[in-house]
């Protein structure tokens, strides 16, 4: 391949970010305008957008294109003037590729936000400068905090409607910063913008010379996408290969992805929950065997002896001097009971009498929610303890979950992949909750 082709995009990385905000915060306008200014809208899309502006648009004088219509794609959305579901958009700047999960902010807020943001590196919280902080600003921040999204950008939008006043920006930043500080983000950045006029998105504009920080696009281009955190080795067995390996063709291959750490041929591993031990005979890929695999890679692992391993089991490395399976150090926890934060996503409320399906890594089993410790007030971050709590759509609660078969897990704070789970209603088959494991119940 020529050097020119290689340099086109392979040398740059991808940042996944999500946005959320209510309809009136100008979120769709912000994304549409950012894409337009970064040349992420193609000519035929622009022509359709101009036509749609005449037909459905709500534009202020002097702005020929209603950018909000770019992300509101479906017929029902245009009829009702709302956004129904998470929409994904893609654009590339000179420095980076971007995947945007654009999550609507009115009904089913938590549901959409969790869907759009669970894999994001960064989230943009929109605040309308004319209205100030709302319940949604705080809710968005609280969910981003629970999901452990490392980076937050607070875009104070509609600065054009407040005369580009620095004191408005400073006041809103002062009001929001203490709340955000409680949520332990890696980085929080405040930027004043006018999405409508395209100021401080891709271009600085001329109206806010008092602001010395980066534009939104510069911030997106320079935010660190991947934390270089050393995690212990985790490999959930996804599928057992049909082919056999080894000199005598008597060894099985286990397919899956490294959800942390690295692995080399010859190393010892322990199979959980059975505690059986083996050495790595080989690591197979389509391109042939490799001697070492790293976090995020999908491989087939061949063990040096025949032991019972099936989908849902987890391979880990033996902990040095540990007490096997206890504590959240290098060894994961093997337990059928744990404490978790639950985002309830379904219109049918949580029922403590019901058995749900739980899906965690590659393991599915039955589970009940045994008790509710508190419901989180996302506006104040207060923990509301009630005698008969009712957990319904968009609620977040600290609960104790009990499973039919034990799970092999880490705390979500230590490893997103081995600390998250979903609950599925066994009559409707709907995904009713997303959960983040806090730790084993003692």
């Amino acid at each position: 391949m020529s050097a020119e082709v290689t340099s086109l995009t392979t040398s740059i990385d991808t940042l996944r970010f999500s946005t959320a905000g209510s309809v009136d915060d100008g979120k769709s306008t912000l994304i549409g305008r950012l894409l337009f200014d970064a040349q992420g809208i193609l000519e035929d899309q622009l022509a359709i957008l101009k036509g749609a502006t005449i037909k459905h648009g709500h534009v202020d004088a002097g702005e020929p294109i209603d950018f909000s219509l770019l992300t509101d794609g479906l017929i029902a959305e245009r009829e009702q003037g709302i956004t129904i579901d998470v929409a994904y958009r893609y654009f590339t700047s000179a420095k980076r590729r971007f995947i945007i999960a654009d999550t609507p902010g009115h009904e089913q807020y938590t549901r959409n936000m969790v869907t759009g943001a669970s894999t994001a590196h960064l989230t943009i919280i929109l605040v309308d400068a004319t209205r100030g902080l709302t319940m949604q600003s705080r809710r968005h921040a609280a969910i981003a905090g629970l999901l452990k999204i490392p980076h937050v950008v607070v875009a104070i939008n509609k600065m054009d409607l407040v005369g580009y006043a620095e004191d408005t920006f400073v006041r809103l930043r002062g009001e929001f910063a203490p709340f955000l500080a409680q949520l332990a983000f890696v980085e929080v950045t405040f930027i004043p913008v006018s999405a409508l006029k395209g100021e401080m998105l891709a271009n600085r504009g001329t109206s806010m010379a008092w602001f010395k920080g980066q534009t939104l696009l510069e911030t997106l281009e320079t935010t660190q996408a991947h934390q270089a955190v050393e995690q212990p080795f985790r490999f959930a067995v996804q599928r057992v290969a049909r082919s056999k390996f080894g000199e005598k063709s008597d060894l099985r291959g286990y397919q899956g992805r490294l959800d942390g750490g690295a692995l080399a041929v010859g190393e010892d591993v322990v199979v959980l929950p059975s505690m059986a031990q083996a050495k790595i005979h080989s690591i197979q890929t389509y391109a042939g065997p490799i001697t070492r695999a790293n976090a995020g890679e999908a491989v087939t692992i061949v063990l040096d002896r025949q032991i019972d391993v099936s989908r849902g089991d987890m391979l880990v490395k033996p902990s040095v001097g540990g007490h096997g399976g206890v504590g959240l150090g290098t060894a994961p926890v093997v337990a059928d009971r744990f404490v978790a934060d639950l985002c309830w996503l379904d219109t049918t409320p949580l029922d403590l009498n019901r058995r749900y399906w739980i899906k965690h890594t590659t393991r599915s089993t039955r589970a009940v929610v045994e008790s509710i410790a508190y419901r989180l007030n996302v506006e104040t971050l207060d923990k509301t303890v009630e005698t008969l709590p009712k957990i319904q759509a968009n609620d977040i609660a600290r609960v104790t979950v009990v499973c039919q078969r034990p799970l092999v897990f880490d705390a979500y704070a230590d490893n997103r992949a081995t600390g998250c789970f979903i609950l599925i209603d066994d009559t409707t088959n709907r995904t009713v909750a997303a959960g983040m494991i806090h730790g084993a119940n003692k």
């Binding site: 969790v114 899906k359 965690h360 789970f421």
Partner: protein
């Protein structure tokens, strides 16, 4: 792909010979080799496909040593399942019936597709694991939340999933991957001389099923296809890109979307794809 193979009873992979499904085959090789694929390949043949693509499809299936099932639209028409309003009508939108009949006949519970979210605005809202009811319908207002890499594959009888592993790839990503992996593509994806007529902003290929209309002038142009769907609704673009690297460079510089430049079927209404998908389309 491994998740579907592990959790679904009877999946299949849609393979048309088009560029996205060519990528899907390489991904399947990476996911499962040295095993055979744990599913057959499936093609819904409108009977109006480019012959170069059909030749390529059959050769690729042979090379891989995998099984191909073909759902034939000619057969659906013969059996009266598909009724065309007029013989020359585009068969594209009618494919859904053949597709759903084939799913029912083989009891497939999951179909891999190479659709991408950057293609079209209703695709942009679709999940990677997209649930279809017993009528094959996609309900955009009632999609399952999709968190982290945890996919809910539970189904009721006669329901199925459409699974789109390359949802987050763009057209440029696909061409870069094809160039990097040195994958063979049907020759019509690369620049070649072809008889076309100019119809509006599009170049219409002159074929047995798309003859020139009265008064239209047939010209020879150097073109390539950006997408290779049904002949009656797929148009080439003017191009000199004769190698994979040149296609990558051209794709990086392009200012018109893939479907906008090549598809007649999406130009009839702003939301054609959304309406077709609700009827069970790919």
């Amino acid at each position: 792909m491994r998740e579907v193979a592990a959790e679904c009873a009877n999946p299949a992979l849609l393979f048309s010979g088009g560029k996205d499904s060519i990528v899907m085959l390489r991904l399947a090789e990476k996911a499962f080799r040295p095993d055979p694929f744990p599913f057959p390949l499936l093609h819904i043949d409108t009977g109006h496909n480019f012959p170069e693509v059909m030749t390529f499809r059959d050769r690729r299936v042979d090379e891989l040593g995998e099984r191909l099932i073909v759902g034939s639209m000619e057969e659906s028409i013969r059996r009266g399942r598909v009724v065309l309003a007029e013989p020359g009508e585009s068969r594209n939108a009618h494919q859904s019936i053949t597709l759903l009949d084939t799913i029912a006949e083989h009891k497939f519970d999951a179909l891999f597709g190479g659709a991408r979210r950057d293609e079209e605005k209703s695709r942009a809202k679709e999940r990677i694991f997209s649930h279809r009811d017993a009528w094959g319908q996609w309900d955009p207002k009632n999609q399952r939340p999709e968190c982290w890499s945890l996919f809910n594959t539970r189904l009721k009888p006669n329901e199925h999933l459409r699974v789109f592993p390359i949802s987050n790839w763009t057209e440029l990503d696909v061409w870069q991957y094809i160039a990097r992996e040195q994958l063979e593509v049907p020759t019509i994806y690369l620049a070649h001389e072809r008889e076309v007529v100019e119809r509006g902003k599009l170049l219409m290929p002159v074929t047995a099923v798309t003859p020139p209309r009265e008064g239209e002038r047939v010209v020879r142009r150097r073109v390539r296809f950006r997408t290779v769907g049904d002949m009656t609704c797929t148009c080439p673009v003017a191009s000199n890109a004769a190698t994979l690297d040149e296609v990558v460079l051209e794709t990086a510089a392009v200012r018109v979307t893939e479907r906008g430049a090549t598809r007649l079927d999406d130009q009839t209404a702003e939301a054609s794809m959304e309406l077709r998908k609700k009827e069970g389309y790919f």
